[in-house]
Symmetry: C2
Subunit: 160 residues, 2 copies
């Protein structure tokens, strides 16, 4: 009733690839942060849980996965462990080292966040016709895997 803006997005100019991707990345990250926040998780914590869903890495490997300093990992895992989301198991091979694993509680929490996040993203993507969504998915996959590829490694479940 107020104005034409009730329904149609105002047929905006193309933002240009770089800006559009930048803004999109903020959109996605904000969505993630918001949803994770509802469960008192930071983005990093959420990533942590996400990684642990199908891996049981050492602290060191974790640092590698997350691109963080070892010292950052200690605190990160500490806090998660304090909340019972994660556990440290002494390695049987190397007495200095631990394997970090996700607990049931952690897994459950991660699952909830994942579901809500997926719903949210799906909703954001609704303005695109199905065919475009497919394309978008393929393109994003392409970019991401190419990047992973030429910065060295994996993406798969457990590299070594």
């Amino acid at each position: 009733m107020t104005s034409p803006r009730d329904t149609a997005p105002p047929a905006t100019e193309d933002l240009g690839l770089v800006d559009a991707l930048a803004q999109l990345s903020f959109l996605v990250q904000n969505a993630l942060a918001e949803i994770a926040g509802e469960y008192d998780l930071s983005i990093t914590q959420t990533r942590l849980l996400g990684i642990l869903r199908d891996r049981e890495p050492t602290m060191n490997q974790l640092g590698h996965h997350l691109g963080l300093d070892k010292s950052s990992i200690t605190g990160l895992v500490d806090r998660a462990q304090r909340r019972g989301l994660v556990a440290r198991t002494p390695s049987t091979v190397d007495r200095r080292s631990f394997q970090v694993s996700i607990t049931d509680a952690g897994r459950q929490l991660a699952q909830q966040v994942a579901v809500r996040f997926a719903e949210r993203i799906e909703k954001c993507v609704e303005p695109l016709p199905e065919a475009d969504r497919k394309r978008l998915s393929r393109m994003a996959t392409r970019i991401v895997t190419a990047d992973a590829h030429d910065r060295g490694v994996d993406l798969r479940t457990d590299p070594r």
Copy 2:
């Protein structure tokens, strides 16, 4: 010579829209963080400068733009001002309020980051054929503007 991975990305499965977008968002954010970091800027600082490139908002408006609490803005601007990237000018209309503006140094810095960031993203996107890049740009724009649209506002230069 080592393996087929020298050239071709391993023709990965589609990650699915949600995961692909999530990973893409991390890719973009990490790129931004890395580049900004080279100039001792955080992502938030960079966003701040970016906003100030074509605006001269009050603290309050700034908080709105960034989605941050006022109290966060004080510190943010403090630090930026301390580095001479930003200036506070007392408002002529409201004696409680300031207009925050970018300095030449700040603008220059922002520009450098923007350029390097653009180069970086362009590079990431190279694996896509030109036609796809166009499409991607349009789709991302579409999503972002639709989102901005239905969470209320702008995207334009200076709403009020």
